[in-house]
Symmetry: C2
Subunit: 364 residues, 2 copies
């Protein structure tokens, strides 16, 4: 039977249903689990099982970035940083499965008037990020297009005998952890979009926040080690926002979350930034995209987890930010006094009509 | 050292140097051959060696199609056929290595006003082509973009103990073969672009030619069998045009070709088409893109090759069309009387300024 025969698609457009609705349309076409597919659609990456073909499980993920949607239009486009970040986004998806990325294919759409030095800068940025993580660029495509398009596929493998870390593995009672510090990427984006406020801040603060936005580092080693040491790991990378990823996990695992906002680490520079802009710090911590930190759940207690990480030479900072609950789909946030905070999801939505006043609309 | 420091990129744009110049810029960034890479950049697909990670050699290829560059803009876009053809192009690249495709990742850029039924049609077309070849769609990305973008990565494997068929393996004295019949895809494209000439032809002729253009079939089984039975196989798929692929092989292998144009099979419907349009049949045979037939060279004689294919149950039609020569870079064409024909390359070039009178500019 042809999928979507029963869907009322005749009169609707992509923007009528948004990204989630679109994914529902596409879902029936995608392989779920089969003889050689451990993880299909619906997680950070697909994982092929070690069969006759592949001795280790293979991890595959793809990501497309379009000028004007995901990054600023020329001439404001910073090519080198775009290259670096495009690779980071893909490696982060492999890391979020607990996989080790090894190769990428890069398909590039370029308008004919793009200067060659900009193409060079883009590849410089991609190569730099690839080299940091021992990843090779092995192929792709280059085509003419009216906008700049960067479409990347990353390939990796699972470590020996390690299962992929799934979004569906959250269980009530598990601790909720994040790696690193959140919020800096969004503050850096605001600075990039509003140069007029830059002069109102200390140069050091500006630099730190712009770096958080432009050169996020995927947690490749930490992801693989967590998948090795946590027997019950659920994991996702923070590409849209903490709130968005929590909702995604809650839906995938049919669970809920109680999150203590004052437990979430943030870079101290955000305090200076929010004092100046008169905004709330939690709006940055909770709704910052492209952080590429890991959000994960395991029953392992913080002291156990930190001890195991230290044994393995991992000094990555992690923080316990809450608990997995049984309240299906309910993500609750609490402040330091234990009072619940109302957090409507303000994450970027690809297919809804642009909202001029929504600062999250243009992510990078 | 940073690549391209010595390239005069400061003042040039992509359209100044064209696709070939752009590839020269990108080339230094791409992994060539390494411990785990049998085939790097410069062939139809990358091939990873069977190492600790992967028991068989893995074949990877990526392809990006952009509205207005590779296929007609909406509302003239035929979504189902686009889906089918986009998959065919990628499977054909795997086939041209002698590989067996198994999985694809599809990244899709969509304008918000696209109707959902069009997304459904696109995926119907992709699924149909995938199912014909036992391939699964396992992931990808969906994003907002001003144009429709279809960016596909195909994954496959080499058959047991079989080496990839390279563009660099042509040797003087080898026979040159093509599978199938050439020219129909270009004639079908002309019919699609110029509906006014449709009524001047028999409906059956129109239908055959449009089908050649819209639903080309990648030669997946033939490619893998050829890689198994020809010890000296060089191979490429015809995605741009026969002339273009011959030039690509000549450059990659530092050889030349003598091609006998009357030996190249073509669909009989092209005769009726060219009689009506008053064009030369060889302009269609030699310059037709998106045929997805295989062009290959081996020292095996035609009777040996056909006998081996028959033993393996392969009835695919193949034709001997010429010889590999020692004349480096020289591709010569001869007519039935042995006279040389002058064939300037009229293949589609992505990054040169549009030439309004060049019928090859918009390929599909």
């Amino acid at each position: 039977m042809r999928p979507n025969d029963d869907v009322e698609t005749a009169q609707s457009t992509v923007s009528d249903v948004g990204e989630a609705g679109l994914l529902k349309i596409i879902f029936p076409y995608l392989e779920k689990q089969g003889k050689d597919l451990i993880v299909g659609v619906g997680d950070d990456a697909a994982v092929l099982s070690p069969t006759a073909c592949f001795q280790h499980s293979m991890v595959l993920t793809a990501d497309m970035l379009v000028e004007g949607t995901h990054f600023p239009s020329r001439p404001n486009l910073q090519w080198r940083l775009l290259g670096s970040k495009a690779i980071a986004a893909n490696l982060s998806d492999v890391a979020a499965m607990g996989g080790i990325p090894s190769h990428v294919l890069v398909s590039l759409g370029l308008p004919p008037d793009v200067a060659l030095r900009e193409v060079v800068a883009l590849y410089d940025g991609m190569r730099e990020m690839c080299q940091t993580y021992g990843v090779s660029i092995i192929g792709g495509d280059t085509v003419r297009s009216p906008q700049v398009i960067v479409s990347i596929t990353a390939v990796g493998r699972m470590p020996d005998g390690v299962s992929p870390a799934l979004r569906t593995s959250c269980r009530p009672g598990q601790n909720v952890y994040v790696s690193g510090k959140l919020g800096g990427s969004k503050a850096g984006l605001m600075l990039a979009l509003n140069p007029s406020i830059v002069s109102l801040l200390e140069p050091r603060v500006v630099q730190v926040l712009l770096e958080r936005h432009w050169t996020p580092q995927p947690q490749v080693t930490l992801g693989a080690i967590l998948a090795m040491i946590c027997p019950d790991l659920a994991m996702i990378d923070i590409s849209d926002s903490l709130v968005h990823e929590l909702k995604t996990l809650a839906e995938a695992s049919s669970c809920g979350f109680d999150i203590y906002v004052d437990k979430i680490p943030f870079p101290p520079e955000i305090v200076a930034y929010c004092n100046m802009t008169n905004e709330k710090i939690e709006d940055y911590i909770l709704f910052s995209g492209e952080e590429y930190e890991l959000l994960f759940c395991t029953r392992l207690a913080p002291d156990q987890l930190v001890a195991r990480l230290r044994e393995l030479g991992q000094s990555a900072s992690i923080a316990t930010i809450g608990k997995v609950t049984e309240s299906r789909g309910l993500v609750r946030f609490f402040d330091s006094s234990g009072r619940e905070i109302n957090c409507d999801d303000r994450t970027f939505e690809h297919f809804l009509p642009p909202q001029i006043n929504c600062s999250d609309e243009h992510k990078s």
